[in-house]
């Protein structure tokens, strides 16, 4: 048993029992971050804060939400939006944050791709990040079911139908997922459970893994430079903060993070109060009706690119292409055969690959939303082929990349 002495202060009392000084040192003041970074390195903090916003607003929504097919719509649109004090605020904050969180995830992802932050020991950071993407997607989809509007119902119908596997006709699986032949009470209840318990718990676990995976390889920097953290941190602690290549997580990195967060929140709250339709689709303010299909069925904007990869092909090919799109990003660290960990701008053909992929995904996103009329059908078809082609080309163009 450890030896305890009479505490001299509250701090000392806690320190003897929890080791708060050590914790503070390891997690904050001597958690070293490279200095050579830009505001894109703050996306992780923005995501953490947005997740916190989702969690808090979600808690308050949970107190009046009714997971019942007859009551759900009115419990959201009448009780929460009009009766509960500031209920409308939680709903708007929750809806807008759920949409904006994906914008930040995509920026975070493409930052990682651009700076090669998935290589040389950082593979697990990338993989845990992609698992988080999958978990957030599931969380967003299950949450979208809960207001039980027309888009909830029909998105649920269409997405769960994907599991029939086209010609495999695995209707049993679809019915198993739904707990009914159509989305109904059993379906709403289980997606409610997934949304408020199972997936959030998984997300929190994955966030822990994601942070843990950063510990050993450290955060990447703007030039992909390999930094000797021991030497540089000693330089910092000796007082040569100006020449050291590293900074403390707290306050140095945090101060910059909070600056970016502050600017982000201005943008975020503007959307919450004055520009929310993009995140709260008007069609979903019509109650779910299994006897009436909306004129246009489309997923939320962040799923559009993968939806568009499904759409232009025949059922079976579309499903295979869709499955390909879902898993291929996870494979990035292994498909990139180049030894270089530097920004894409210094990586030969990969530079063009990066911008082509980004633009192609935006084209897919746009084509996934417009009705499937010409020329959009054709554009979508070629954009989907380009997506697949780019991934097939990746190992080859990176294999022959010159060492920088």
């Amino acid at each position: 048993m450890a030896h305890f002495t009479k505490a001299t202060s509250m701090h000392d009392w806690l320190n003897q029992r929890l080791g708060v000084d050590t914790l503070n040192r390891v997690l904050a003041t001597e958690y070293w971050i490279p200095k050579n970074i830009n505001f894109l390195w703050a996306m992780g903090m923005i995501l953490a804060i947005t997740f916190g916003i989702l969690l808090v607003s979600g808690i308050f929504l949970l107190m009046y939400y009714q997971p019942n097919v007859n009551l759900a719509f009115d419990s959201v649109n009448y009780t929460i939006m009009q009766e509960v004090g500031y209920g409308w605020l939680w709903r708007h904050v929750h809806g807008v944050a759920a949409s904006v969180v994906f914008l930040i995830i995509y920026i975070h992802m493409f930052t990682g791709i651009y700076y090669g932050s998935y290589k040389k020991g950082r593979e697990m950071i990338w993989i845990s990040g992609m698992l988080l993407f999958v978990a957030f997607s599931a969380e967003a989809f299950s949450g979208y079911m809960l207001p039980w509007g027309q888009m909830s119902y029909w998105a649920g119908m269409v997405i769960t139908n994907l599991f029939s596997g086209g010609s495999l006709h695995a209707d049993g699986l679809v019915e198993w997922i739904r707990g009914d032949y159509v989305p109904a009470q059993a379906y709403l209840n289980r997606f409610f459970m997934l949304h408020v318990l199972l997936i959030p718990v998984a997300i929190m676990g994955l966030i822990g893994l994601h942070f843990g995976a950063l510990r050993i390889p450290h955060v990447n920097n703007q030039d992909g430079e390999e930094i000797d953290f021991d030497v540089e941190s000693k330089k910092y602690l000796a007082g040569d903060t100006k020449n050291s290549k590293v900074i403390r997580f707290m306050n140095d990195f945090l101060a910059k993070d909070m600056m970016v967060v502050g600017i982000y929140l201005v943008f975020f709250f503007y959307l919450v109060f004055f520009h929310y339709d993009f995140a709260m689709d008007p069609v979903n303010f019509d109650p779910a009706d299994g006897l009436k299909t909306p004129t246009h069925i489309y997923p939320e904007w962040y799923f559009l690119w993968s939806y568009e990869i499904l759409r232009p092909f025949s059922t079976n090919v579309g499903l295979i292409a869709f499955a390909f799109a879902q898993v291929i990003f996870v494979m990035l660290p292994f498909l990139d055969r180049s030894p270089n960990t530097v920004p894409a701008s210094r990586r030969g053909l990969f530079k063009y690959w990066f911008w082509a992929m980004l633009i192609d995904m935006i084209v897919l996103t746009a084509m996934g939303k417009v009705p499937p009329i010409e020329p959009f059908g054709t554009i979508g078809f070629y954009a989907a082929l380009t997506f697949i082609g780019l991934w097939i080309a990746l190992p080859f163009i990176t294999k022959f990349e010159k060492k920088v």
Binding site: D180, Y181, V182, K292, T293
Partner: protein, 188 residues
Amino acid sequence: MKNSSRRGFMGKAFGAVAGVGAVASLFAMKRSWDPLPSVKAAGFTTLDMSAYKENELVVEKWRGKPIFVLKQSKEMLDSEGKNMSKLTGKTTSEMDKKRLLKIGDAHYLVCVGLCTHLGCIPGYRPDKKNFLCACHGGMYDDTGMVTKSPPPRGLDIPPFKIDGMKLVLGESSPEYEKMLADGVTLKV
């Protein structure tokens, strides 16, 4: 040495026992996600086809959707043949077999009563022997074939199985599979 290998064996054996428990509980979890018996039972609707009267539309319910049942009269069958053969050049008997169900000696239209345009419920007009959707004016004849747009296709036919004079909705049969293969209906 002997001791440690025994410990190793017991460790593995314990792992196996724990695994059995885990698999068993997974099974229970899988079962908990299954559709309830009450839901399953509501997924099949058995209709007694001898009870219907000619040219009188009856609306049944199957899996939360309205189902139209319309027994065809001799006159209806004849006129269909004429209309159809004008359109397609095919003979009466060929066309009748396509969308109608022959049960006993009679022919029936059995279809999902939702307009294929936007899902409104069309009304049947016994005097004119056709369906009119009041929402956007789509029309179907008495076999559920679309005769006036906007609906993109005829009324969908649910999976069925003929069992004597009984019709089971929700269960497929070779007759239904043939309809799917011939493109008479989409899968519901």
